[in-house]
Each structure stands twice: as structure tokens, then as C-alpha cells.
Symmetry: C2
Subunit: 346 residues, 2 copies
DNA sequence: GCTGCATCAGTAATCGTTTTCAACAATATA
DNA sequence: TATATTGTTGAAAACGATTACTGATGCAGC
């Protein structure tokens, strides 16, 4: 690959002039500029970005840390990030960390090593104090998850309010035996949703029953939803509505309910969270909370670009959520609910 | 961030010595080496990789082009790549191209610009001649898909043979009315599978019926499988077995068959391809061709590393596939098949 | 004609490494 | 004692760009 020097020689100018032409500076005689562009074309010159980055002391690169790229929830966030990065003249590099700290640190080390100008972290856990060590010194932004103890800029929805909306909706449908499928992890969203679930009940004068709460032990998976629903719905005074903290859990819960002979939504209402594509793949389509994923990603890029340019950026950006009502939710039907718990097949 | 010069000053040595220590060279006096390591530690020195790369004229970086990171089929390939890259001291950068040529070219341009040492392309289409322009000059390897007209090194399974295995299995089960859900795209695998489907029939003395072939028009999706199955099974002389070129299509086909009142596998046998996680999520678990995805990814890295080091590498690596028989396939039952086509509900 | 001021092009320093080469000291050999 | 050999070390030249600075040229104003 040709270098700037070769271009300069061919155009009979100095490399400084070549550089000026390439960077669109005005103080170059048109005739010279023409010679340079011609030489660039003839030699198919492409600037060596490594050299450019060294000199400019920037990499124009963002690293994106995702626990699991296969998760469709992240897919839209990522495409928002990719688009935003491009608009701001950055490349975004995607890493699949599987939530492993060692890997995550390895990637953030790139900030130190000048391989990246900023980082966007999806799904950082509560108590991951070490992240703050990087965020203090380098541009780091968090998406969806964050730890309120640290002032790392982040973009998310109001999980507490979203859950309250779900609960208000369920209560308005007449449900009083409302269960939840939560999850065993250290995400802020999980804690916020569980907290709002409980306070909503209390505020409605309904006691919180631990029997109505299950925790997925192995991630937001279909199987976990299935298993949790089986156990929740096997109780004599089974819940008539299930709030699941993710759509995959909801899908599993619906399958579990069906398997036990319950109809969804007639016998059991199931509500999800996130609005991934699968919610409208199988009937009943899932009633769920939609998060503006693309926007979340896009906004995160804007924050991190702000940080890179040492501008003042908001510590927290909360984007609007939306409860979309589809086929998996229906008003409480006392008659059915009392009998359905004894049914075992159709 | 401290530079080498600062480390050198603090250790009272030259930067050459610092470099030697950092690169583990032996001809350094232990006492000096100790001073250097101490200074490195004290200043929390991290080498500037940009400078390093410039000097070494390499980036130790691989770019991975994926059409769709959400597709679980790619997930395992990607993790094989990530692992292989790490083992070889490379970073792998993942890009979601959505099959857009402009984006793909933009990413391959990084090879020219010294931003990446090699590229691994997943799912390149037939007739994408322009790729060859890059592959001629830079290390490029293809995974799963490739164009036999060009000699770009690639890793894949033998799609032709795998399909023949499926067909032999179906024929051995007694099926003679075998349909296929293929797809409208320009992948070599698609052509190979369709070709093998047809030749297997012909070799068995069964004429190829266009009525038994459907083409998914909008990708390997559940909905496409559903739609194709509906149309295939609505025929009076409906096929009793369906070979689908992807698991998602098979899942959709199973749903479609069920919806029409057919039992899978009793009334209709459905076979998929790839063996993604979803095949064992819902019953019946899908009989499918498993591809050694992780291995494919891993091998692709080895090839590309070979190319980078200007070694001779094989033009084609074919990895073994495996037909795994699960719950969605069963022997042909003449009695059921003749009546089931008139059934509309259970 | 001389000064002052643009305008434009080139020289050289710079970014932070690696690596060649020469210098030097210490040791072995004759 | 003189020389060859070996082992360490540092000075300086790369890598390929950007950019501050310098210098040359041309033109206007006096």
C-alpha cells in the first residue's frame, strides 16, 4: 500500500501538501491540489490509520461490551449504537463478554492502551466497583443497567415506573393474586422491578406473598420461565396473573401454563418485559413493556462522544417505556380461576 | 498515561532497555530489569498499542463480518472465532453488516488502512465478485458460505452430502412424498442443498415435483416456515416429510403443521438444518443436521492466521456434519397419511 | 524602491514504540 | 600484554502520518 511520501513524490509536492489536500484545508493552490488528487487516485492511496491515530492521539473507536450478543434484546441497542457511532465518525467494536469480569477488564484496558476512545457497557452488574476505576479516568457509559452508587453516565428506562404501570394495569383488570417471575442476578433493573412489584401490591392493600415469587436461577431463558410457571401455578391458590421480568421468561411461562391445561389469557394472564421479536411469533402474542432499545443505544453513543470531547453530559438519561397490550392479558375471571386450578388436561 | 520515556527516566535506563525488558528479551542485566519492572509498576505504565502497531506494521486484529449477530447459528461460530483469535494473540472485532455490500466493503477497507490484519466473512453470497478483489491482496477467509468460482480459503460442511444423508434417512423411513422448504437467496449452501434434494429423489426413482418445493422469501424465519408449511400441506397429495434448510424454518413448519391439525412426527416428519438451541426448546425436538459451528469458527481463524503469516493454507476445509435424530421424524404411516390430509382440527 | 502583509509550500519536529548499530566493558584467549 | 570475544547498553533511525514554523513569492501602500 502506497504511503504519503510516494504520493508526494508522484505529485512533485511535499508530504505536508498531500496531508493538507487530504484533510481538505483551503490554503492549497488548486493546481497543486489537482496534482495530489490525481496521484492519490493513481496509486490507490489509503491513509494508514494507525499512523494517523498515533499522531492525532485518538483511535476514533468505541468498544461495546455485551454479555451475550445472541440475546435479541441487545440486538436493537447494538444497532442504535452502530448507527450513532457512524454518525459521529466512530467505529464501534463489539465484544461478547459473557459477563466475565476478566474479559471485560481486558477490553476496558484498551482505553488505557489508546486502542479505544470510549466504552459502552451493556448489562453491568451492581457492585462491580472496579468499573468505576475506569469510568473515573476514561469515557465510559452504561446502557440499561447501572449502579446508582456510582456517577457513571447511563441511559435506561424507568424500571420502577414501568413495573408500576404493569401492576396498575393488572390491578385494573381485577387481578389480586399476582405472581412474578424475577431472576437471580445483580442487575439494578431486577431489583427495581421486584421492589416496584412489592410496593404496588402493598399500596393496593394486597399482602406480598413469597409463594407468588420465583427467581430464575439460570438466566432469562425459556426453560426458566417454564419451570417457574409450573411451580407457581401448581399451588392451590395459584396466581391469576404473572409478571415476568423478561419476554423469554414470559414465553416459557405461557408454555408452562398451557402445558398444565390453563388457557392464556383466559385462565392466566402473563406479562413480559422488553418486547423482543419472539413476543409476536407465537400466539398468544405477549403483552409486554417495550423499551426504546434503538434510542437507548443511540443516546449512549451521544453521551460517550460528549465525554470524549470533555463536555458536560447528564449523569442519567431516562427514556420513555410503553406498555403494549396484546393477547396474553385479560380481565380476571373469578369463576374460571377457581376451577381451573384443578384441571390437568384439555 | 505514562510513556516509555518516563519509565526509562525513572529507571535511569534508556528506552531501548525498557522495550527489551517489556518484550522479554534475555540480554538485560537482572538488576536493570528489576529497576525497569519497578518503574513500570510505579507508573502503571501500559504500552501504547497504536505506536506499537505502527512500528510493528501489524494490528493483531481480525475483523469478522456477520450479516446478523442475533442469528443463533452464527453465535457459536463467533465464539469459536473469538476463542481461536485469542489463542493466536489476535483481537476479533465483530461487525453486523446486515448483508449490506457498502458496509461490508467499508469494513474490508480496514485491511488496506492497516486497521486489521485479516478478515473472516460469514455468509458471503454467490456472485459477490468484489470480495475477491480484497481476498487477492489481503488475508480473507470465508465461513459456511463461499463461491466455488473463486479460490478464497473457506471452512464449511459438505452441504450436498448432508442433504443426501437426510434424504437417505427419509427414504429409509419409507417416505416418498418428500417436500422441501428452501429459500430465496444466493448462498452456495442453498443451491447445494436443493441440488442434493433433487438428485436424491431422482436416484431413488422418484420424480421431482415443483409442488413440493417452497422458497422462503424473507429469510430463515419462523414465519416463513409457517407460511410454507401451510401451503405445502394444504395440497391434496400433501408431502409426508419436509426437509427444511434451517431450524427456524423447521420450527415454523412444525407450528404450521400443528395448526392444520397434523401431528408431528406421526402425520408429518419435519427435518431442520444447523441445530440451533431452539431445536430442543419446544416439543417435538427437531431432527436436524448439526454443523460443528464452534469448530468452523476456530478453523477459520487458523486459516486466516496462516494467510497473515504467508503460509500455504488449504483452499477448502470441510468439517464433518451429523444428522441427529430427535422427535420430529418418524416412519411413513400410509394409513394416517391418507386420511390426515382431510383432518382440519383435533 | 522599500516595507508590510497575505498566501502558499516545504522542512522538520512530533506522536510512542521497536530495532539496528555502534560503543563499551568485561572476560577469555593467545 | 595485546587481541578476540561476548554481553550489555544507549543513540538514533525507522514506522507514516500531522502540524508548527520558516521562507519564498507577489501585491498593495507609502
Amino acid at each position: 500500500m502506497a504511503t504519503m511520501l510516494e504520493v508526494a513524490k508522484r505529485a512533485h509536492v511535499s508530504i505536508a501538501t498531500v496531508s493538507r489536500v487530504l484533510n481538505g484545508q483551503t490554503n492549497v493552490a488548486p493546481e497543486m491540489a489537482a496534482r495530489v488528487t490525481e496521484a492519490v487516485r493513481a496509486l490507490a492511496y489509503e491513509p494508514n490509520l494507525i499512523a494517523q491515530n498515533l499522531r492525532r492521539n485518538e483511535s476514533r473507536t468505541l468498544v461495546i461490551l455485551t454479555p451475550n450478543i445472541t440475546n435479541p434484546y441487545y440486538a436493537n441497542i447494538i444497532s442504535g449504537i452502530a448507527q450513532g457511532a457512524q454518525e459521529n465518525g466512530y467505529s464501534s467494536f463489539l465484544f461478547n463478554t459473557e459477563g466475565k469480569r476478566a474479559l471485560e477488564e481486558q477490553i476496558l484496558e484498551r482505553l488505557k492502551k489508546h486502542q479505544a476512545d470510549g466504552a459502552i457497557m451493556l448489562a453491568a452488574e451492581l457492585g462491580a466497583d472496579w468499573i468505576y476505576d475506569y469510568a473515573k479516568e476514561y469515557p465510559v457509559v452504561q446502557c440499561s443497567e447501572f449502579d446508582p452508587r456510582f456517577s457513571i453516565p447511563h441511559v435506561c428506562v424507568d424500571n420502577e415506573q414501568a413495573t408500576k404501570d404493569v401492576m396498575a394495569y393488572l390491578l385494573s383488570l381485577g387481578h389480586t393474586r399476582i405472581g412474578t417471575i424475577s431472576i437471580e442476578n445483580r442487575f439494578h433493573s431486577t431489583a427495581a422491578r421486584l421492589h416496584a412489584y412489592k410496593t404496588s401490591l402493598v399500596q393496593a392493600g394486597i399482602p406480598v406473598e413469597e409463594d407468588y415469587i420465583r427467581y430464575a436461577t439460570q438466566g432469562y431463558t425459556f426453560k426458566m420461565g417454564l419451570k417457574s410457571a409450573r411451580s407457581l401455578l401448581a399451588q392451590e391458590k395459584r396466581p391469576t396473573a404473572l409478571f415476568c421480568v423478561s419476554d423469554m421468561l414470559a414465553l416459557g411461562a405461557i408454555a408452562g401454563a398451557k402445558e398444565m391445561g390453563f388457557r392464556v389469557p383466559n385462565d392466566v394472564t402473563v406479562i413480559g418485559f422488553d418486547d423482543v421479536e419472539y413476543t409476536t411469533m407465537f400466539h398468544p402474542y405477549v403483552t409486554t413493556v417495550v423499551q426504546p432499545c434503538y434510542q437507548i443505544g443511540h443516546t449512549a453513543v451521544e453521551l460517550v462522544c460528549g465525554l470524549i470531547q470533555r463536555q458536560q453530559v447528564p449523569q442519567e438519561v431516562i427514556l420513555p417505556h410503553n406498555l403494549v397490550i396484546r393477547e396474553s392479558s385479560a380481565p380476571f375471571d373469578g369463576y374460571l380461576a377457581n376451577f381451573a386450578s384443578h384441571v390437568t388436561g384439555c
